[in-house]
Amino acid sequence: MIDMLITPFTDFAFMRRALLGCIAISVGATPIGVFLMLRRMSLTGDAMAHAILPGAAVGFLISGLSLGAMTIGGLIAGMAVALLSGFVTRVTALKEDASMAAFYLISLAAGVLIVSMRGSSVDLLHVLFGTVLALNDDALALLCAITTITWFALAVLFRPLVLECADPQFLRSVSGLSAVTHFAFLALVVMNLVAGFQALGTLMSVGLMILPAAAARFWVQGIGPLIGVAIVVAILSSITGLLLSYHHALPSGPAIILVAGVIYAASVILGRQGSLLTRYLPRPHLHS
């Protein structure tokens, strides 16, 4: 038993690298996911992931399987969509969901067009689904750097970000930080998705951002506890998913996300707060 759990990591360097990469993503992306969830922006994560895809694809077309080019491409595409949609939301009458959808769809279409114009049958599968078992030193360094930046940025932004979520009108009435906070947060979303696609692929990286946060909501309240539980869920999912993919020859990205999905499903059913269990098997009410 212990053998099954430990030896894949002790015997194979690529498994250790994969584990480190996944832990870095778990620690960096899940706090972002918690804030996305609390701001009812969970689907924004998905939209941003689609927005990044064409940027990464263009980078891939220009420089091949180059980490730098794909990362820069993804960052540019993601930031452009975040800034433009944020600008339209704040300056015009359009609400955030609609402006975000508009720009990510444009970005996605532009990406597909650029790829097809080059006429190459580029293998974009690894951009879509990631290569967690083949992370090189540069990719690992990038993942860890982005996680570190995320935590520093969250430490700096924490109070305005909480206020921007809970009572944006008040934040605007006492300080000019509202717009700065919003854009900095979107930048963190983009950075973490770019980090995630190295390992899990653009579409899968959202999973490790949102699923642990959604699962945590059924167990604890409070932002700190939510982030803590979500990180634990994400790391557990990573380890379990990697082991499952190792022992059963499954693709590792989907395996990790599906484990997170199982934890989420269990939380929906069994969680302590607002789960199916509390709804259909309520405990007796308290004294007035």
Binding site: V162, A166, D167, Q169, F170
Partner: protein, 247 residues
């Protein structure tokens, strides 16, 4: 010295004025009730004074003093997991900013503010667990901590029980006694007559402004009620010349 001067102010949405060519001076330290029918532009006027809604024409002159604003429908996300004391502590923003530590002195101030609105013991409660009236009291406590020279309240006593309203009104009186400028949108004329020395009646235009017993007359209220509430989509461009752009 006057605190807030409104010069020929027109505020509105999508070119339709909600406040139309309004000029008035709100004196420092005054306690003013803003009354008028629904759609008269009362909330819009407060947003204009607050600076969140840029004027279509005209302008507002006010000292660069701290200003606190309690909106009619606070855009608070009630499901956000934040505790009462944390929300109230944000009233200290001008002092602590985004990074400053909440010290023991601050915690003492928070406790006093919560006590003043009758919510001692609610510190650790999540805002999701508050009733509407309790949340309004929490927001009052936050305004208390903002320690602002100008306080704008938009229908602060709506949907509040009589005892709570009396408690909150006592706080408004205290602000007045401390020399702060308070402007409150109200619908209860008895409260206005009993508690507010100054009244401003608006119905898109300024109907009356002055000492309550002179301004709040039946004739003025009738004129305010005759305001047409609906917008005319085909309204022509207003040709009232802008007065004294420089002041």
């Amino acid at each position: 010295m006057p605190t807030i001067v409104l010069h020929d102010l027109t505020l509105g949405y999508d070119r339709h004025p909600a406040v139309h060519h309004l000029s008035a001076t709100i004196a420092a330290g005054s306690l003013t009730a803003v009354v008028g029918p629904n759609g008269a532009g009362k909330s819009t006027l407060l947003k204009g004074i607050m600076g969140t809604l840029p004027p279509l024409t005209g302008h507002i002159v006010r000292d660069r003093t701290r200003i606190a604003y309690l909106p009619q429908q606070a855009e608070i996300d009630r499901s956000f997991p934040i505790a009462v004391h944390e929300l109230v502590a944000m009233g200290l923003w001008a002092g602590i900013g985004p990074f400053g530590r909440v010290t023991a002195t601050h915690r003492d101030l928070i406790a006093k503010a919560l006590a003043a609105v009758g919510l001692t013991g609610f510190e650790r409660r999540s805002i999701a667990a508050l009733s509407g009236g309790q949340l309004q009291r929490v927001l009052f406590a936050r305004v208390l901590l903002q320690d602002a020279q100008v306080i704008l309240l938009d229908e602060p006593f709506t949907a509040i029980d009589a005892r709570t309203a009396a408690d909150l009104l006592a706080i408004v009186r205290r602000w007045h006694d401390e020399g702060r400028t308070v402007v409150a949108v109200l619908h209860d004329m008895d409260t206005v007559r009993a508690q507010f020395p100054e009244t401003m009646i608006v119905a898109r235009e300024l109907i009356a402004h002055g000492p309550t017993r002179l301004a709040l007359t039946a004739a003025n209220l009738l004129r305010a009620r005759q305001m047409c509430e609906s917008f005319d989509d085909a309204a022509p461009v207003c040709d009232v010349p802008a007065k004294g752009a420089a002041a």
